[in-house]
Amino acid sequence: MILELLKNDRGGRNLLSVLAIVAILVPVCNLLIPADNPLHISTYSVTLMGKYLTYALLAVAVDLVWGYLGILSLGHGAFFALGGYAMGMYLMRQIGDRGVYGNPELPDFMVFLNWQELPWFWQGFDQFWFAALMVLLIPGVVAFGFGWFAFRSRVTGVYLSIITQALTYAFMLAFYRNEMGFGGNNGLTDFKDLLGFSLQSDTMRVALFVASALALAVGYLACRAITTSRLGRVAVAIRDAEARARFIGYRVEEVKLWIFAFSALLAGVAGALYVPQVGIINPNEFSPLASIEMVIWVAVGGRATLYGAVVGAVLVNYAKTVFTGVMPEAWLFALGGLFVLVTLFLPQGIVGLLKRKEASA
């Protein structure tokens, strides 16, 4: 079945092959090759690459709604961060009494705020299965609720973009409040264990990296399955002519709603994998700027290709790492310039450029 999905998808085949090679090579280079060997990959790099892969998964989620459904979501950061917070809450509970205050029940920031007992919405997050379920459910349900309101009243185009931005902005303001019970502007951090294994160990880092690669592969295939299915073709029809699709008799709202919620769920998974690797989640992830950066990854890579989103996410974030290391002031210039140049000269992104070259050759 997987083969069938990839039959007409050369980009996807390439992407998955590269992903498979990387997922095998990187653990070998990190764990088996000694540190003084030039082929050794440091744990730092492994974590960095793992982070890129979670971003890539997020970009695929954005591309699914923007490229195939025509919804420019400026609020996918909210779903990403919600998934991240769900995972962060589990990791906070895993700290147990090893926190600064040594309280076995309450996370440090709650002790600091003089809270006496765990709020109701923190109950259950000491179980991994519950946290994992919430990683999927919370972003999915929020997106479903939001979409239910937005799509039924036929808010489209730019208006929809702006209210998705307002959504993530509202989340950001809310999570900055200490009273919310999510650590205020410090967020959740100082994680120790995941499933009983130390987060600092090399094996754990590699395991998270492989998990991210796997999640990206599965997420890609799922999106590919959706876009090649009947549902996906209806989605493209809605993207190109919404009113026409509606008059023909398709339930436009339902199609949008399910795909949007699925995309949010993918973003949540990406967030959940991101948090243990970077070791912190704070309300900054909700900022409108973060959400809009995701859109530019997709735009750089190429819309409506899925694998283009992966390419864009990895390239832009690699550039960000390099720029912020070498000359931090230049990064915003570069990012801003990228927005302008890509929209003006590369409407199909890098992938589109390559395709055009191929066609002319």
Binding site: I162, A166, L332, G336, V340
Partner: protein, 534 residues
């Protein structure tokens, strides 16, 4: 002027002091009297100075009260020693001009006794009561309130008859009523209690509360006091409501200022300009730069900043339109992304040029301070000015769009581009100018913002989502809608704030708008007609 003279005359009478004209000879006598050792002699100087009519007489008396008047040991000359920071400055007591260092030497302080202190305080209070500035009179009345003797009560009653300022009048009435509360006659007390019911002075409420709680007061007095207290409470609530309303309107006016530029670029042209906030930031930085160029004339520099900010932001806007946006007409999502990129570049540019730290822009004197309506309600002047400024900018914009040739062309192009071109309108040129106009207004909004907050690279970001909300809530393409939406959102925010907290209030308003857009996707005042779908 005649009023001032009569009050002065009253003053002379009530002091029962030797009647004197504004004669410098008197002051000389007074100064030599002050130099005497005997307190009775010194005390004689006080009415002399008070009645001298010298413009600095009041300051002289307070200087004496505070021990700032000193005598040189060698020749007995009087000087005014003012503490300025850590150094003492010698001033001439008559002119207030600084004296040369050479005139320094050993000084002794002019000592005064308690009797003189009382006399001095009374004389200063009486002189303040006769001052031309209502604020000085009000302060004097408040100073006296609660400690009136018969003489000053009579003075206040006389002042009441002539008083022109209603705030001072109310304060005097309160002071007199508070005095009548001590009377033995219940009828007088009841009348006083009723009078106090209309006062907002904190002292009135305090005394009434003690009356209610006191064992000695008769039941009738207690009842009346309770009644009056209720009245005060109600009026206080009313004042609090008015204050909330004012703060709401003030916030609303800022929102409107931020949003009307957007109402042009987004509402009329349909261009999503995410760099709008950064254009406001440029306006605020222009204010800062102009003020750096004219450091000694804050008022003038602020006035100059308004056109300067309009030009700077407008030119940047035209550059953005010509350089980027014109290639992206009809592709709103791409426009959004490109202008967002521009906003990042502008932010970083400002960070590189001016440093990432916030800059403060000074507020001119006429804009600082408060306007006191009554004891419970005072409005900050800068917010009042910004509210007026917002209405002014709005009116100007409406005039430009409705009455000028440019406005006509802008409306024509936005309604039907092809037809407008056929009629000979240079649509590209109009596009650039319209965008420049919207951007320029964003710059002007930045000037207003610089008076309220610190100027920093993130200034614009804070407003961009809010301003989009205002435009969408008010109805795209409708300037009046923007005005009403901005003001009502500001008021809603401030009304919610006391019981929900600032952040939650903001979130509630955001959620409300999101829900509202679901219900009415085209805002409060939707555009009608065929132009809508185009």
């Amino acid at each position: 002027m005649t009023k001032r003279l009569t009050t002065l005359l009253c003053l002379c009478l009530l002091l029962a002091a030797p009647i004197a004209s504004a004669d410098p000879a008197d002051l000389t006598t007074a100064f030599s009297l002050l130099g005497e050792r005997s307190f009775t002699k010194k005390a004689e100087a006080i009415p002399l100075i008070a009645n001298s009519g010298h413009p600095r007489a009041r300051q002289l008396l307070s200087a004496l009260l505070e021990g700032q008047l000193k005598q040189r040991k060698t020749d007995g000359r009087l000087v005014w020693v003012e503490q300025q920071g850590d150094t003492e400055v010698l001033l001439d007591p008559l002119t207030g001009a600084p004296l040369a260092e050479a005139e320094g030497g050993q000084f002794t302080r002019l000592t005064i006794n308690n009797q003189m202190r009382v006399q001095l305080r009374n004389a200063i209070a009486d002189m303040s009561l006769a001052d031309a500035d209502p604020a000085v009179r009000l302060a004097a009345v408040r100073e006296m309130t609660g400690e009136l003797d018969d003489e000053r009560a009579a003075a206040l009653e006389r002042q009441l008859a002539d008083e022109s300022s209603s705030a001072v009048k109310a304060a005097i009435e309160t002071a007199l009523a508070l005095r009548q509360l001590q009377s033995a006659d219940d009828a007088t007390r009841l009348a006083a209690i009723q009078q106090l019911g209309s006062s907002l002075e904190p002292q009135a409420q305090l005394r009434l509360t003690t009356l209610v709680e006191s064992e000695e007061s008769s039941p009738a007095v207690k009842r009346a006091a309770q009644e009056s207290l209720r009245g005060i409470e109600q009026r206080k609530q009313l004042a609090a409501l008015a204050e909330t309303l004012f703060f709401g309107l003030s916030l609303g006016s800022v929102l409107v200022l931020a949003a009307i530029g957007l109402a042009i670029t987004f509402g009329v042209m349909g261009v999503i300009n995410m760099a709008h906030g950064e254009l406001m930031m440029l306006g605020a930085y222009t204010t800062y730069v102009v003020q750096q160029l004219l450091p000694n004339q804050i008022g003038l520099s602020l006035a100059l900043s308004i056109p300067a900010a309009f030009v700077v932001a407008g030119l940047v806007g035209v550059a953005i339109e010509r350089g980027v946006i014109r290639f992206l007409y009809g592709r709103p999502l791409e426009t959004l992304l490109a202008t967002f990129g521009i906003s990042l570049v502008l932010q970083q540019l400002v960070r590189t040029i001016f440093s990432p730290l916030n800059r403060t822009v000074a507020t001119p004197e006429f804009m600082s301070g408060t306007l006191e309506i009554n004891a419970a309600l005072s409005l900050t002047l800068n917010r009042l000015y910004i509210f007026a400024f917002c209405l002014l900018v709005f009116a100007a914009l409406v005039l430009v769009l409705k009455r000028t040739r440019l406005g006509l062309q802008v409306r024509a192009v936005s309604q039907n581009r092809a037809m407008a071109r056929a009629m000979g309108v240079r649509s590209e040129w109009v596009d650039a100018l319209t965008f420049g106009l919207g951007s320029g207004i964003a710059g002007v909004a930045g000037v207003a913002l610089s008076q309220l907050t610190n100027v920093g690279p993130n200034l614009g970001q804070a407003y961009i989502i809010d301003s989009f909300m205002v435009v969408v809530f008010g109805g795209v393409g409708n300037l009046w809608g923007t005005l009403i939406a901005g003001l009502s959102l500001g008021v809603a925010n401030k009304v919610l704030e006391p019981w929900a907290g600032a952040v939650l209030a903001k979130i509630l308003v955001l959620v409300f708008i999101i829900l509202f857009i679901q219900k009415r996707p085209r805002g409060l005042f939707p555009q009608k007609g065929r132009a809508v779908e185009a």
